[in-house]
């Protein structure tokens, strides 16, 4: 019985494998090289596999570009966002980067320093009309631009805030730290929600520095001293940073936020588990669908130095090993038109980077329902430090913030972070 089964298994595998192995070899040989393979073909990589709308809007630009001239042909290869960076870094290690690629904004200085990216020449005028947070710079050179930005916001419901007598803050008059804490306390004490606020602590990766370092900056601290990007001493462990850390920990000890959020805090908010949600503007579509006009998008609180939010989303650049940089630059200039900015922003429901594009995108026109997001970005956005050491800083900040939330001594945790960040900057000769 057993031997018959095994024979059947072996036979099945052999029968299946013969044509498959042949197909494998035949297919293997036909794959194209990933960089510009001559003949005017420029390979482009994007993180949009799985995001049909955004990919279609990028494909539209490429189709228009390919149809507008005969010298170059751009060929799109889409990767899933979650693993895109690993794919790019692996390709860079193998010297197989494509000519044109998109990059998450905070990585631009590191990738420029590492020699992945080439500067974008001759686009200063065009890009001066873009939101500053959507232009990737390193050492006074522009390396990338993005069609859109996203904004951080506190999502809540007018009816909930009214019920607990909480003032609805505005850009001009955001909540003070005291007002914010008082609102959290009032809602917590009501017992109507699991937590008054969900700050999405279950998110991983870039979320922590993107979402929580603006709070630190609003307190007056920062991730690194931005005058020379050499040290975090005094800015990440000074009195302002300590105030932030103490307050951040109190969110958990006061039971204002869960130590570990659910897998999808936006869904928990829509299910009524939290009264307020600190998240990105990408939650707007679903929350509006759920709560209609009752939903409200609030600016973050002012902890002393004004409300702050993270700036910089996905941007486009060209690789240094592109064998036809002129063709890649021609594409980059072509693709920076307002109509394409509008097209991509509309497809993603994100914030268009230029005023002209915003006027073309429903909801982002002046006075439109999403105009407030653009105002948040214009008024409050702080880009993450433009140093190649940022990925290390981001990891270190994430670890420190998690330690603090879990009860580590704030001063010791911050001092250790500064020590590690400074050592990294120094060991890399300050990336000079």
């Amino acid at each position: 019985m057993i031997s018959r089964t095994i024979k059947r298994l072996a036979a099945t595998i052999l029968v299946a494998a013969t044509p498959l192995a042949l197909a494998a070899c035949a297919k293997g040989g036909s794959s194209a090289s990933s960089d510009s393979a001559g003949g005017g073909t420029l390979t482009m990589w994007t993180h949009n596999a799985g995001n049909k709308n955004e990919l279609a809007s990028i494909q539209k630009i490429v189709t228009d570009f390919n149809g507008s001239q005969t010298k170059y042909k751009v060929d799109v290869q889409a990767f899933p966002q979650d693993s895109y960076n690993q794919s790019v870094v692996a390709a860079a290690a193998a010297k197989k980067l494509p000519c044109i690629l998109d990059i998450d904004g905070p990585n631009v200085p590191n990738w420029a320093w590492a020699g992945y990216l080439a500067p974008l020449e001759g686009m200063d005028d065009t890009l001066s009309k873009f939101l500053p947070s959507t232009v990737g710079k390193y050492q006074d050179k522009i390396y990338s631009y993005g069609y859109y930005d996203v904004a951080l916001t506190i999502v809540s419901r007018k009816s909930v805030l009214k019920k607990y007598g909480v003032r609805i803050p505005t850009i001009e008059q955001p909540w003070t730290a005291e007002e914010f804490d008082a609102a959290l306390k009032k809602i917590r004490d009501s017992g109507d929600f699991d937590y008054p606020l969900d700050i999405a602590t279950s998110f991983t990766g870039e979320w922590w520095p993107y979402a929580y370092s603006p709070m630190l900056q609003s307190f007056g601290g920062d991730l690194i001293n931005r005058t020379d990007y050499k040290s975090a001493q005094g800015v990440l462990n000074g009195p302002e940073a300590l105030n932030w850390a103490t307050w951040f920990r109190s969110l958990v000890t006061e039971k204002y936020v869960p130590l570990k959020s659910g897998a999808d805090p936006a869904k928990d908010f829509m299910n009524g588990k939290s009264a307020m949600l600190y998240n990105g503007t990408w939650t707007a579509v679903d929350t509006r669908k759920k709560f209609g006009d009752d939903v409200v998008f609030l600016p973050p609180a002012d902890f002393g130095k004004g409300p702050k939010i993270g700036g910089g989303s996905w941007q486009w650049g060209i690789s240094q090993n592109c064998s036809d940089a002129a063709g890649a630059m021609e594409y980059m200039k072509f693709a920076a038109q307002d109509k394409y900015v509008a097209g991509v922003a509309e497809a993603t429901t994100n914030i268009p980077t230029t005023d002209a594009a915003a006027a073309q995108v429903k909801g982002y026109e002046p006075g439109g329902e999403n105009d407030v997001f653009r105002e948040f970005t214009k008024t409050f956005a702080v880009v993450r430090p433009e140093t190649p050491g940022y990925p290390f800083i981001a990891t270190e900040f994430t670890k420190t913030a998690q330690d603090i939330l879990n009860g580590a001594d704030p001063q010791k945790a911050l001092d250790q972070a500064v020590k590690n960040i400074d050592a990294n900057q120094e060991s890399n000769n300050y990336f000079e």
């Binding site: 057993i2 089964t5 095994i6 595998i13 293997g28 794959s31 799985g50 290869q77 966002q81 693993s83």
Partner: protein, 307 residues
């Protein structure tokens, strides 16, 4: 007298018999409860995955706090499955995974069994050293070899119907060839071959058989359980490959199914679609295991491999 003795015997053995039965029953109940708990521990995540694949995202989370998470209740539909096929070239991914896994298994069975046969049956200098080196590679995790391997495959030449090319990136072979030779498989075969009497080889040699004939006609036909074990233990990691394809595959038409799950992790994660996709890509593995469950268990038991 006899009656009295019988009565006494009955009256003294009766309580013992009852206590023994009770102990037996208690043990049965405990074992059953333990089995049930183990079933739940391993089965509930699968059940949750399948049930959630039929629910809208918001309901998945609202059901999380109760037993409803494991029950097909509420707003059930195939919407997530339609979403999966709309979002991902699923048939292509599945075909790629089948090509990669099956090719790795077949070539792995041939190469590793031959290597093990040589180590087990042939006599040559350095035999034990080679076996030791092969076994030593078992302790090196793949992650530490990934970058050097990437560099290596990127410099390899290839010749096929389209002519000569250099670099294996973005091909099928780069997903198959590095995983054909496997130290664990060689060891499994080696161990099994060692248990086959060498007198059979001697008898075959007397009859004029060469080493390949002995391998093909005597040793391999007797190594069925080892073949089944290696086939399944090679298939599973090949099917579950994730990191390596991320590093070496750029074209969508060459991506395996496991990488496809990343397509659903956007800023707004589509949890229902993730569950639907995970359900679909788990099915082939489950079917394979269930179909060959008996021979797999027997082969593991007989080859002395225990987890």
């Amino acid at each position: 007298m006899t009656d009295t003795l019988a009565h006494v015997a009955e009256s003294t053995t009766q309580p013992h018999h009852t206590a023994g039965e009770r102990r037996h029953t208690v043990r049965n109940v405990a074992v059953t409860v333990l089995r049930l708990v183990l079933c739940l521990v391993f089965g509930l995540p699968l059940l949750f995955m399948i049930i959630s694949s039929f629910k809208p995202d918001i309901q998945i989370f609202s059901d999380l706090g109760s037993v409803k998470a494991f029950l097909p209740v509420g707003d059930l539909s195939f919407e997530n499955y339609f979403g999966v096929f709309d979002r991902v070239p699923f048939a292509q991914f599945l075909l790629n995974s089948v090509i990669i896994s099956v090719s790795t298994v077949v070539l792995g069975l041939i190469v590793n069994s031959m290597a093990a046969f040589a180590l087990s049956r042939l006599q040559f200098r350095g035999q034990k050293v080679i076996l030791g080196v092969i076994l030593a590679t078992l302790i090196v995790p793949f992650e530490t070899m990934a970058l050097p391997l990437l560099w290596w495959v990127n410099t390899l030449p290839f010749f096929d119907v389209n002519g000569f090319s250099q670099g294996w990136l973005d091909t099928y072979q780069v997903q198959i060839v590095p995983f054909i030779a496997n130290a664990f498989s060689i060891y499994l075969f080696y161990q099994y071959f060692d248990s086959i009497p060498k007198e059979l080889d001697e008898a075959a040699t007397v009859d004029g058989a060469g080493w390949f004939r002995i391998y093909r006609s005597i040793v391999m036909p007797l190594a069925g359980p080892a073949v089944a074990t290696v086939a399944i233990l090679t298939f599973l990691p090949a099917w579950n490959q994730y990191l390596w394809p991320l590093m070496v595959v750029q074209s969508e038409e060459l991506r395996p199914a496991m990488v496809g799950i990343d397509y659903f992790k956007q800023l707004n994660v589509s949890w229902g679609q993730i569950m639907a996709y995970a359900s679909i890509i788990t099915v082939p593995v489950l079917v394979l295991f269930v179909a060959f469950q008996r021979s797999f268990i027997n082969s593991i038991a007989s080859s002395g491999v225990k987890g």
